[in-house]
């Protein structure tokens, strides 16, 4: 139940992002049933935006699937980063936890993990399932009401995603012992992602930047 409660602060963010995703999927010509499948089976905001965009521009199936794969490769890092807190569970139980892992549930989990050695399985499921159901509802609402919203950007809906990431990073930084080092890592990540994007690494940019910045964190730690 605590997991459900801890998910609540992210719900509005989910609702607005999910609503926006639903609107965009509808505009891309997806049916209600297809939108439902996307949110239930794929369950990844960034990937759904990409799928909608590429379907609308008649992208090939292979191109769509692999673009989504590269965008979601960052889940490798998220999954690896939460793994120390679930070592007391079996691989199968870890699979269930991982299957519903998102940027947001990851952010909430890592915030709770600070100062702890393990996270509870029940807490994580509470968090994950609340997020999952809320995401589905938001997607369907967006797809349903989407026909009346012609321009989601005018309402600032597209900023829901970056705003939530900002909130998650600030919460993380506030609770870290070595704040300065983490702030430096964040700045390096931003600089790296700019250069990586300019080098046309596309969806790999975020992964490359995060790997460099995290490595620099370990290196800077040694300097002291």
């Amino acid at each position: 139940m605590q997991g459900v409660k801890d998910c609540i602060p992210t719900l509005l963010g989910y609702l607005s992002i999910g609503f926006a995703a639903g609107v965009i999927e509808m505009t891309a010509g997806l049916s209600l049933a297809e939108t439902a499948l996307l949110s239930l089976i794929l369950y990844a905001g960034s990937a759904q935006f990409i799928a909608a965009g590429m379907l609308a521009s008649n992208g090939s199936a292979t191109a769509i699937i692999f673009t989504i794969f590269f965008v979601n490769l960052r889940h490798l890092l998220l999954s690896a980063a939460v793994s120390p807190y679930f070592r007391h569970l079996t691989p199968l139980k870890n699979m269930w936890i991982g299957s519903l892992l998102t940027d947001e549930s990851f952010g909430v989990a890592m915030t709770r993990a600070i100062g702890r050695k393990t996270l509870s399985e029940r807490w994580m499921h509470g968090l994950n399932i609340t997020a999952y159901l809320n995401w589905f509802v938001a997607n369907m609402a967006g797809a349903y009401f989407g026909r009346w919203i012609t321009n989601p950007e005018r309402l600032g809906l597209d900023f829901a995603l970056p705003a939530m990431f900002i909130g998650l990073v600030v919460l993380q930084l506030m609770q870290r012992k070595n704040k300065k080092l983490h702030i430096n890592v964040a700045i390096i990540a931003v600089v790296c992602v700019i250069f990586a994007s300019m080098a046309s690494l596309g969806s790999m940019s975020v992964i490359v930047a995060a790997v460099i910045a995290a490595t620099m964190g370990v290196v800077m730690e040694r300097w002291k």
Binding site: P84, N94, F165, M198
Partner: protein, 109 residues
């Protein structure tokens, strides 16, 4: 209400390739001892990934840096960051971000 076959297979294919990176490390590291250096490294990963995502959202469009004067997202980020530090509330942060963006888009035309 129909589901087209090609769309169905795109959803299935991308879902599978999304599932694997999500669960693989969690399943693997529950059996294998994680080396110390990897643990130290993983401590920096969350902030690094999220900062990189923010960086991409705020500064870039089509592999180009967006000029500051035309970058509504960058300006909207300022009150958003301030509210995040001040209130430490995720809900408040997202709300202020959306409203700031709406106002800026209106002002910038």
């Amino acid at each position: 209400m129909e589901v087209r076959w090609d769309v169905f297979w795109i959803i299935m294919g991308s879902a599978l390739l999304t599932f694997i990176p999500r669960v693989l490390p969690l399943m693997l590291f529950s059996k294998i001892q994680i080396p110390m250096w990897l643990l130290r490294w993983l401590e920096y990963v969350p902030v690094a990934v999220m900062a990189a995502l923010i960086g991409q959202e705020l500064f870039m469009a089509d592999n180009q840096v967006v000029p500051i004067t035309h970058n509504a997202a960058l300006w909207a980020a300022l009150p958003t960051i301030a509210v995040a530090i001040w209130t430490r509330s995720l809900l408040g942060t997202v709300l202020v971000g959306i409203v700031a963006m709406m106002i800026l888009r209106y002002l910038m035309g």
